[in-house]
Every structure is written in C-alpha cells, then in structure tokens.
Symmetry: C2
Subunit: 294 residues, 2 copies
C-alpha cells in the first residue's frame, strides 16, 4: 500500500487561480500588483529561483522586475536600492534573494525592507506578529505553504502532534509559530527538533504530522514514522550521483520510497512544498498591493 | 525524598546585585537609568505589581515614575502619553501594565512603545528578533527569568526535552522561542502544549524540564512528570478557600506537594519565577539606558 500523494503542484495551481482573480479585481481599479526581485551575484540556484518566481508573476498578471547587482555590491549600495524601492509607490513587494555575498549582512538587509512590502515575511516585525498571532503581518512563504497544503488536503492540525525537524528562520521556527496558534487550521501541539535533539525518532514516531526541514538528505526513514502519519518534505539536498549527467541529484529530507509504505499522506519532492512557496509569495504580493492601495 | 528547591528569590538577588553594579557604572557617567510605569484604572493586582516593581527599582538606584490614568482614559490619550515618553530622553524604559480596560487595544498600545524602550519585550519587533535569534532585542521578562533560573541552577537545556504548557504571548510562546535557539543555555528540543493538546501527559512524562504556564490551578500532577525532571511553575491561580481571611488563596499550575517527591528540581511558588520577572525587568531597564546613552 502506498501513501496518498499531497500534490503540491495541483494545490499551488488552486492558490494561483485565486490569486489571479484577486489580480483581476485590482486591475479593474487601475492597480497592477508589482514585485521587485533583487539578486546579488550569479549564484546559479538564486538565478533559477528568481527566474521561476518572475515567470510565475508574469503568468498571474503581476508586474515583475529584477535588479541584478554585481557580487561586489557594497551593503550601503544594496540598502540604498532597498530604500528607493520602499519609497516607490509602484512597488508593492520586495524580495531580496538569499544567500547574499558574505560581506553583506542578511539581517541588516531584511530589516531594511519596509515591513508592508516584505512579501518574504522575513522582517522581524512580521516574524513577531506571526508568533504573537497578529494576522496583520506577512507570513513567510514556505511555512505558509506547508499550512496551506495541510488545509487543502483536509489533514487536521487541531490537537495533532506535529514534529518539525529543523529550526531555521525560513521554515522550522516560523512554521512552529504558525501551527501552535489558537486559530483555525493551526492549534497543534508542536515539537521543534533540530541538530542538538537527542533521539529525534522518539518524538517523530508519536507525531501525527512530521515536517522535515533539516537539510539532511533522506534523514527521515520509515521506522521514524507512525503508521498513518502525514509527512511533509521541505528538504532540497544535493548528493553525488556519478550516473547523472550533472554528477549529482537532488533529494529531500525523507526517504520517500520507504515512507510511502508507512505514511497515509506524503509530499512528493519535487512537486510538494516547492510550488507552494512560490504560490504563497504571489499571494503575499497581491495582499501587499491590496493593503498599500486600500 | 524531596526535590531540590530552585530558589527564585536568591537567584533574583544575584541578578539584582549585578544590575546594581551596572547602575553604579552608569551613574559614574552621570546617567541614572529611568523607568516609567503606566497604569490605567485601579485593578488591585496591577496596583500590587506596579508597586513591587517601583520599589525594586528604587532599591537598585533606578529612577522610577508611575503614571496612573483613570479607567475612562481613551486609547488616543494613552497613545499620546506613550509618544511623549518615547520622545523623552530621560525615560529609558516604558512599561504599560496589563490588563488594560477593554475599550483599549493592548496590541495597539504595546506596538506604540519605542522598541528601544520596550523593557517588557512585548513589541512585535522584539518578539520577532527573539524568534529569529537576533540578540539585539529585549527578551520578555518572565521567560527570560525562567531561562536564568535554569542557567544559575546549572540545569542543562542543550539537547533536553522541554515541555512548555501554555502558549500565551507573555510566557509560553516566547519561552519556546528562547529555548529552541542554537545558543548557549538554550538548544533544547521544545514541545509547546496547550488547551487543545490531546493527552498532554504523554509528552510531559518524557520531558527533562516541564514549565507550567497554563493558568490552571495544580494542573500538573506527580504522575505527569518523569522522575528526576525539573519542574518550573509559572502559574498564579486564585482558588476559593473559605478558611482564608480573604476567602481565596493563590496556587500555582503544579501540585507542589506531590511533585516534590518525583522531580529532582522544582520552583517554589511564590518565591520561584515571580521574583525573576522583576529581576529581568530591572536588568532590561539598565540595558535600555546603556544602549540609549551609548
């Protein structure tokens, strides 16, 4: 028996459909939502990510521009660009693609983005609102996408034990903040596990939902999972593969082929969380445009 | 056999001693740290809390003033007072005592306090920094006090399983944010439990440290605890007691008399977490004065 797949691509398309309708409504008011991507240097993964987001924006009728700055850009230069985008009434969303070169402080950069244009949800003000349960902020795209996958797959979280593996600022910690709230589609008992956790499987084996976001290839195995659980794979790891033309292949944080025989629901990877991250980014951009032009 | 008591009073006195030395250092530079308390209405508990904090400030050489506003104060009036305190260079810390009358939004009020003077650590910017692991913000006093109790009692948190009961914005959620960080005196596996958690004892029985902050009288019993665990009681609950002159008595969230026979370390209540909250508030006030006059 195999687990039911949580089709991130199809669910992202549902979200995109709704986002497109919201774009249409704004257009009737003469407003086109606009996002600006800022990319520093030529990291191939960053190029690919920004390219995908840019393409998706265009497909939804969202105006999108990309600033590509040289690797040698100084922090003051980058901050000055952010200031000008903050001040530009025709820019609703600003996304500075991480990672940045090591001579630039990501903290300083994310902090500089106007929280009302912070469609990535990385500004501490938005992170604080997230933990406090204040809905007026932006939710980071990947954890918001994980929640949306659960909602639209009708997997209940209220009272469920959710084990989150990984305490990064982009996925693990904000996802814990989202799912612990006393709110619909949340209200879970959340356990946050990480590299310093002893015997993580003692908790994952009890969990109704396991979210793997450690960045460790195929860390989560079948025997770590309770039969019938839901398993969400956020990981993207590069492992050597001499048989591949590129010399490597991408794998997630879960051993999918094993887990599909134990879990009741599982995300494929790719095609699970990834499409949702972009879908939530687009939705956030439209939300920003709506709020800034209200 | 009885558990070892975690003496919050004695540990708070250690913190106060250090704070007093920091005050002396500021005084040699001609700076007296100053905190302003704002109290609206005549809630007896609020009167008592502000009174205790005011007295402690005086004992440490911190200048302290209290604004008492009538229950009928409007939100704009309160916000105007906060604005004037934000602008006052001789005010380093601002504490608006909760609860506020129901016609005033606590969220709006806490948001208005300059984050650099937010010695309560309730501003979303400071809460966001807390979750992100950015040390430049203020930590809320009660969870910071719980961490300090653990540190100074030499109870290790790294790799430990910590079960936090209660997901309030004042204790449970910020404490989870503090203890999950990859940082010294944190680095714990954190499980956040609450009113919607099914069978909370399944997790508390596995936990090395249990923190009870649900606001439910004597909720945590001996059989909920692993032998040898540390139990921290944050609760203050009023229960009827006809034998008492006041007709009630205050009890914590743990059944102390039972738990002391199972736990290895336990806080008394009163005399556990309570004194630490005030100690951390005083330390935050001096930190604010240091930062604002640097």
């Amino acid at each position: 028996m195999s687990a039911q797949l949580i089709d991130g691509k199809a669910i992202a398309d549902q979200v995109h459909h709704e986002t497109r309708q919201r774009v249409q409504t704004l257009l009737t008011r003469g407003i086109q939502p606009a996002i600006v991507f800022v990319r520093v240097g030529e990291d191939p993964a960053s190029r690919a990510y920004v390219g995908m987001k840019d393409k998706q924006a265009a497909a939804l009728g969202i105006l999108s521009r990309t600033h590509v700055l040289p690797e040698t850009t100084t922090q003051p230069e980058l901050l000055a660009l952010i200031d000008s985008l903050n001040a530009d009434p025709n820019t609703h969303g600003i996304l500075v693609q991480a990672p940045l070169p090591s001579h630039i402080s990501e903290t300083a950069v994310f902090f500089r983005v106007d929280p009302r244009k912070d469609v990535d949800g990385f500004h501490p003000l938005n992170v604080g609102k997230l933990l406090l349960g204040d809905p007026s902020g932006f939710r980071p795209c990947t954890p918001a996408g994980v929640q949306e996958l659960l909602i639209r797959s009708r997997i209940p979280t209220a009272g469920a034990l959710v084990a989150i593996l990984g305490r990064g600022n982009i996925v693990g910690k904000p996802l814990a903040a989202i799912l612990c709230q006393k709110a619909p589609s949340a209200n879970a008992t959340v356990c946050l596990l990480h590299s310093a956790s002893r015997d993580f499987s003692a908790l994952t084996r009890q969990a109704d939902i396991v979210v793997a976001a450690m960045g460790r290839a195929e860390l989560v195995r079948a025997h770590h999972i309770k039969p019938g659980a839901t398993v969400i794979d956020v990981g993207v790891n590069r492992i050597d593969d001499p048989a591949s033309p590129r010399g490597y292949r991408l794998v997630g944080d879960i051993a999918f082929d094993e887990i599909t025989h134990v879990a009741a629901h599982v995300t494929p990877n790719p095609g699970g969380v990834g499409p949702m991250t972009i879908a939530m980014l687009m939705a956030n951009t439209v939300t920003a445009a709506e709020a800034l032009t209200a």
